[in-house]
């Protein structure tokens, strides 16, 4: 009975919010968003009066052809720095909360993978890693980038964890990779401050839009983020799949 009451209450609240949004004339209808009034028109036209043409415009204000990537990495790069800190602190927290095991051992779940699975997963492992690297390195041209690419690399390690119940990745290596990639990202920001008078500024030329080697330091930053996200999530997976060695 209490559940039905709570359900009616929350649905009523939801309906209230929907009604108040629909008769709010400043809130645009579902498909009627007018981008010219929004900040996003600057990001699309990259602040230039004449049109930005793929493969032709040279040295625009922000390099990537993928406009979302140009926002994530260039215009609002400080958000992404905070973003990377959130993942860093949560993987640190999980190491703190679950990490207490003196002699960590793989959680022996009650399934024994057979020989075929163990060998087959090795082959698949490299293919997934390759896809992840592709997604990261083409982040500024095609959809994807540091976050999905890094998670793909981590899911490759997840595959190995599942396929082989004795496999344990080298956590020390992940920690060092994570720390170096994160510090390099902040150092690139500080170099931007020294060379080009604002923190996280793109101090290399942007090149032509749409070419693989374009938009200055941004692909390097996205690769660093990919490596950091990959090592952090692999660390989280390792902590979830290990337990105290009970002698």
């Amino acid at each position: 009975m209490k559940k039905i009451l709570a359900f009616i209450l929350t649905m009523g609240l939801g309906a209230l919010v929907i009604i108040s949004l629909s008769n709010n004339e400043f809130f645009p209808e579902f498909g009627m968003a007018d981008l010219t009034e929004r900040v996003s028109i600057e990001y699309i036209t990259k602040g230039s009066a004449l049109d930005v043409i793929f493969n032709q415009t040279n040295n625009p204000e922000s390099g990537p052809a993928n406009i979302v990537t140009s926002i994530v990495i260039d215009y609002r790069s400080f958000d992404t720095l905070g973003e990377v800190t959130v993942l860093f602190i949560s993987s640190l927290g999980i190491a703190l909360l679950l990490g207490g095991a003196a002699i960590p051992k793989r959680l022996d779940l009650n399934f024994k993978p057979n020989f075929m699975l163990r060998v087959g997963s090795r082959a698949l492992f490299s293919i997934i890693i390759m896809t992840g690297v592709y997604v990261i390195s083409h982040g500024h041209l095609t959809p994807g980038g540091g976050f999905p690419g890094g998670t793909m690399i981590a899911s490759a390690f997840l595959l190995l964890y599942l396929a082989d119940d004795q496999f344990r990745a080298k956590i020390k290596g992940f920690k060092i990779m994570e720390s170096i990639a994160g510090s390099l990202y902040v150092i690139i920001g500080l170099i931007g401050l020294i060379l080009a008078d604002q923190f996280l500024e793109n101090f290399l030329p942007n090149g032509t839009v749409g070419v693989l080697i374009s938009s200055g330091i941004l692909p390097v930053v996205y690769i660093l983020i990919g490596l950091k996200v990959g090592s952090e999530i692999s660390g989280i997976i390792d902590h979830f799949l290990t337990e105290e060695e009970v002698l």
Partner: protein, 111 residues
């Protein structure tokens, strides 16, 4: 239509938060709130005959009608923040279970 579904999704998550007493169910309700919120954020940037905000060799000019790229950049951040909190919640759930042997909030007699 998707926008109204997203708002209702947020409130279904809130309803789940209010009525569930199991820790894993609470984390699931939190995830539902985040999924609903992310769909709502993307839905405010949608333009009817707009195309994905990526310049390719086909739609190669910035004069075309694009969908709003800013909410997509925000959702990228919101998704990864959601993963961070969920992973922490699950780690806490494991700690609570190993300490109190139960996942029901009422049975955990924490002083």
């Amino acid at each position: 239509m998707i926008q109204y579904a997203a708002i209702l999704l947020i409130f279904i998550g809130l309803y789940g938060l209010l009525t569930n007493r199991n820790i894993i169910k609470i984390i699931i309700s939190l995830n539902i709130i985040e999924i609903g919120l992310n769909i709502f954020i993307i839905s405010i940037g949608f333009v009817f005959d707009g195309i994905a905000p990526i310049m390719t060799s086909v739609n190669n000019s910035s004069a075309l009608i694009y969908v709003d790229p800013v909410p997509q950049a925000l959702v990228l951040t919101a998704i990864v923040i959601g993963v961070g909190t969920t992973a922490l919640g699950l780690a806490l759930a494991k700690n609570i279970h190993s300490k109190y042997k139960t996942l029901e909030i009422d049975e955990v007699e924490e002083s």
